[in-house]
Symmetry: C2
Subunit: 473 residues, 2 copies
């Protein structure tokens, strides 16, 4: 057991309690009422954020691993017992709790659009209910992160993008999962060493201003670092960026054939203009092989602007903008009951429709491009490739879906290449990607709606009071 | 040991590797060069976000606990050895690594402004360097969260605000630490059960639409839930909000004296209008004691608008807007070397000044209000209360600073009350809170700047090339 201060979260608790309190309240009610039949829940994003033409689904493998291991530990049950809300019988039932359901999902690295299920869970109602908070939190996080990173990678157009976000991302888990999601989306490496250890993401880094500041002078700091790490990147903006570049050139004279510095890093000022001047100075000194690495407040729009103006930058370090995604830090993600005991379910509350039943997404291609999707019923057939595949059955991951990060990254790359150019662009698309509802699914939604409306009206025994006609659509 | 899928992060790794790769590269360089003397690092926010008049410092106790336990585990050292970058001697040194430094900090729940150190670390250079990423990440997270929550609590003006954010916050750590930070900032309770267990934050919750949907009809669901949890909150908007309210009223007739439902929850539609109509219906039915709980896309501006229009809402559930703080999800936080080996340090790069040396913040009062701050040198005396207090010495937490969440919450409440009303308001302040630099600190900064400039010019042996005059200010 790892003491609280030493582990990557405040304790080594399991994840069964990472749930909203109402889930456990409902679970006890289901337990008391005997509502154990099969439920289908769909996880989907209701609307794309204004600044996203598509999302990149991510986080599935993380969730499946969490579901396989979901257990209530004795200390969890002690805590719940102390809340004076749950019966001893129910706590004994929780003690034996395992997730035994089926999950169908699109592979990580698949572009996804509004209302398309990223995954669907079929399980006894209490099991499918309990996992709501965890599944939403984890898929939301990595999907936000991968979707943002894909924009940066596309904009850098082949130049490496490096994740510098750990210091300002929202906590330890965000920084660790982020490094994973970014790598799947095409980011070259991360500065986050623990993410390197946990996920095998390549780690990289340069030097900080504090290293320069701690030395008596900058040239001494450059020399010491380059002798220890010959193929390093030297940070040149601590005192004066171009004077820093000149000192790197001087160092190349001192070291001669031992000079193997890979790049200089610019971290402040007018990066485009400084990159041009630094490039000219390095070239004039015969140091064409020394690259220019830029960082400091970069996002995809700033990178696009730098490259459009021909800034000779070879790689980008991106921190906060990729790590937090401030232009779209949250998604209108939902995990909704779509079927229970074989009957389609939905709600009628305003602006938040649910597509009932188990579904499938069919994606059509024209040549090498995705041409449009149809969301249909699971058991129907539509033109195009079905995106949701079984990945877990009876609570066990199925073989066949990849968990290897390099394989997922290559899959994502190939998927992103197939997006229409206007959808992959960082500016809002003039025409959104076409997503249709199949006639059979539409008919099912209409039928379920009619059934529920009729049953609702019939159950309103005193609806003649007149309050029933205030629909909040 | 907890298997990966069961713990609240992907593994039970310690936190020593939660650091940027360049920190370890610099550490090995410091080790090789013998740079072990005392360094002072300051953690501060360079600028307040546009939509914040103040920040609420938070996360200190979390960080101190992490620093006390910081160790490189055998598996960490194995991973580092495999990177082919670090010498065996250096890895042996890491094996014995402990944080032995001193930390001075403002108490959690203290309002803080631009350039004011939230904490200062004094430690041998490598120790103070290694912890940069972790300390920044953790203080940044909880300060973002507490600062946002304080705005919601102030706006709700005594009505309870409940944290519903777990499902969309950025990962597990953000959701757990958020519940802690929110509670310090005055939030009443959280839906996050694991946060309740780990931090003792009160947990609460109502019911989800899925519970209603899973039942044959709404009235049946209300009845079952209210019989199991008599003092519950019933969610009324699954099908038709006011018809839902009517069914709650019917239930009160059925249950008679056993009807003890605490509130109805509105989660969609025009919350202000629905609250007014629901209030009227409940009052006409003699159910004055049944409150109205509102949720669904709320933030401080929406709450202010609802209350300004007299919406009879008794409590608010807030999720994404508090959890992610989309209007200010990141801070321009920095952790900068301010002194090494007894000499003030800074950098000259554009737009990012550093105040050299160990510092103190003096906060003046006029009556019961904070009237202005002066950032001075640690060893000088200025009018006002000094905010930075020793909280850790020789790597051990000092007794005396509170770790109790209720005490921190009460301290924060009293602190927030002392802010000038225009600063505490959610709209941008016309006049920012006054923060001055003391003459002694200004003189020190000038002197250190001159020393560094002179040394820098002298060390630029061939500065007559003319490239040295391109200042990137």
């Amino acid at each position: 057991m790892i003491a609280a201060g030493r582990s990557a979260t405040p304790s080594d608790d399991g994840l069964a309690l990472f749930t909203d309190f109402y889930e456990l309240s409902m679970l006890q009610a289901y337990f008391e009422e005997g509502l154990y039949e099969a439920a289908v829940f769909s996880l989907f994003v209701r609307r794309l954020p204004q600044r996203r033409n598509y999302l990149l689904a991510c986080g599935l493998d993380t969730v499946l691993e969490q579901l396989e291991g979901l257990r209530f530990e004795p200390s969890d049950l002690d805590y719940l017992a102390g809340l004076d809300r749950f019966s001893e019988r129910f706590l004994r039932w929780l003690e034996a709790f395992r997730f035994t359901g089926t999950v169908r999902a699109m592979p990580e690295g698949t572009p996804v659009f509004a209302n398309e299920p990223i995954l669907e869970v079929t399980a006894p109602l209490p099991e499918a209910q309990l996992i709501e908070t965890l599944v939403m939190n984890q898929i939301h996080l990595q999907t936000v992160q991968a979707s943002k990173a894909a924009r940066l990678v596309a904009t850098a157009d082949g130049r490496p993008v490096v994740d510098f976000g750990a210091r300002r991302m929202h906590g330890l888990d965000a920084a660790l999962k982020g490094a994973r999601a970014f790598h799947i989306a095409g980011v070259a490496s991360t500065s986050n060493v623990l993410a390197g250890k946990q996920y095998g993401v390549p780690v990289s880094g340069t030097m900080a201003h504090s290293y320069i500041q701690a030395h008596h002078d900058e040239a001494e700091a450059f020399g010491a670092f380059a002798r220890l790490y010959p193929e390093t990147v030297l940070l040149v903006d601590t005192y004066d960026t171009l004077e820093g570049v000149r000192r790197v050139i001087e160092l190349s004279g001192e070291l001669g054939d031992d000079f193997r510095v890979h790049a200089v890093r610019l971290d402040s000022g007018d990066l485009g203009e400084l990159a041009r001047q630094a490039r000219r100075m390095l070239d004039e000194a015969g140091l064409q092989q020394v690259g220019i690495f830029a960082s400091g407040g970069l996002d995809e729009h700033r990178i696009a602007e730098l490259l459009a103006h021909g800034a000779p930058i070879d790689a980008f370090g991106v921190g906060t903008s990729m790590g937090i995604a401030p232009d779209a830090p949250d998604l209108d993600i939902a995990y909704k009951l779509a079927e229970y005991a074989g009957e389609g379910r939905l709600k009628l509350s305003s602006g938040k429709p649910i597509l009932p039943g188990a579904k499938q997404i069919y994606r059509r291609r024209e040549g090498n491009r995705f041409a449009g999707d149809t969301i249909g019923r699971q058991d129907e057939s539509q033109p195009g490739e079905p995106l949701l595949q079984p990945v877990m059955r009876d609570g066990q991951r199925l073989p066949g879906h990849s968990r290897d990060l390099d394989t997922l990254r290559e899959y994502a790359r190939a998927q992103l290449e197939q997006l229409p150019p206007g959808i992959r662009a960082i500016e809002p698309a003039e025409t959104p990607y076409p997503v249709a509802i199949s006639p059979a699914l539409q008919a099912h939604q209409d039928a379920v709606t009619r059934t529920i409306q009729a049953r609702y009206a019939a159950s309103g025994r005193t609806s003649e009071t007149g309050d029933g006609d205030h629909s909040n659509d």
